[in-house]
Amino acid sequence: MTQRLVTRKLLTIICEAGLEKELTNCIGAAGASGYTVSDARGKGAHGLRDASWSDNANIRIEVLCDELVATALLDKVLNDYYQNYTLVTFVSDVGVLRPFKFTKPAAL
């Protein structure tokens, strides 16, 4: 079974909930075919983010994509959001079935 798995990138962004609309737009624009958003709580450099009020609610955005898209998204997040917003971003290698779903189509 594992022989059929192909490596793709899993980009995870944990950020303030208010960024959802902007970041998901960026993800679409970068060429990713989809994303998953879930509510998240935790503690970090900005203290406890316990979702008790809209300003301290976090979300976790996950994108399965190829390396090109992951790099483009990392650049975007680094340049546009890191300075003023609460974000943690990391990329890991994961094995996927149906790799064509997570590959940016070549430009026509």
Partner: protein, 313 residues
Amino acid sequence: MFDPVILFFLLGVMAGVLKSDLKIPGVLYESLSIFLLLAIGLKGGVSLSQYDPSNLVDEAFIVLLVSCLIPLGAFYVSKILGGYSQADAGSLAAHYGSVSVVTFAVATSLLVKKSIDVEGYMTVFLVLLEIPGLLLGVLLAKFGTSKASWGHLIHEILTGKSLMLLLGGLLIGYLSGETGVSSISPLFFGLFKGVLAIFLLEMGLVTAGRIAEIKKQGLFLIMFGTLFPMFCGALGVVTGWWLGMSIGGMTLLATLYASASYIAAPAAVRMAVPEANPSTSIAASLGVTFPFNISVGIPLYLVLSEHMVKVIL
């Protein structure tokens, strides 16, 4: 006799301070806020259906014009006296320039308890005052710096949950009239105060969570969060008196001017002025001004309005 809704708020604060595991689920909080916004809109709409809205234009214009002093005042006071950056001062201005629907609801329930009549169109002012002060605050924060994406910001505010539900409720109430709304009034009007009480329990918990941040921000924020609303409240009383409003109307206008937004403004300002520290504005509006207004402010604005009428007559 204490108002039970205020006691619910105190219960929330106490539970938060004592680090109780009491937590209002996010979904319930969302549902309660939808209910409250719709109910306030509906109530205003039903009252408005007894008026001719075209008579309100002059009054609304003056109320809006005077309200512009609030973000301007908040901006310069926090920048000059508080030493805040332009972005933080603008963010505070946007929060204080907008209004708090829950503070308005608490003031309304106090006036109902004391059997004081109120002009039915006050909800229209609640809707009208939500936006311009917020935009003015963002303008002050952004003035002379990078350009803001105004189209995006205006879309965000106009399509935001609070305005959509308030305005929607207002229209439904206005179009249906008192008889039309009677079939749904047991839910929206009968249960209003009980729902407000649970909502305030949650607000108490959230306020308790801000105490550490308020301590960190220092004395200026506490002084600003209490004295500035008193000044705005007095401005509301004088404006209401000048417009010939009743004691109830003056009190509600004072409450609207004195209240600071902590639902609509934080979300909009976060995206429009990302360089501002969101904790500062929300600690002031939610941690200081909201509890001040519902415990001391509103009764004070009522007394001020009563004195104003007595002295002048």
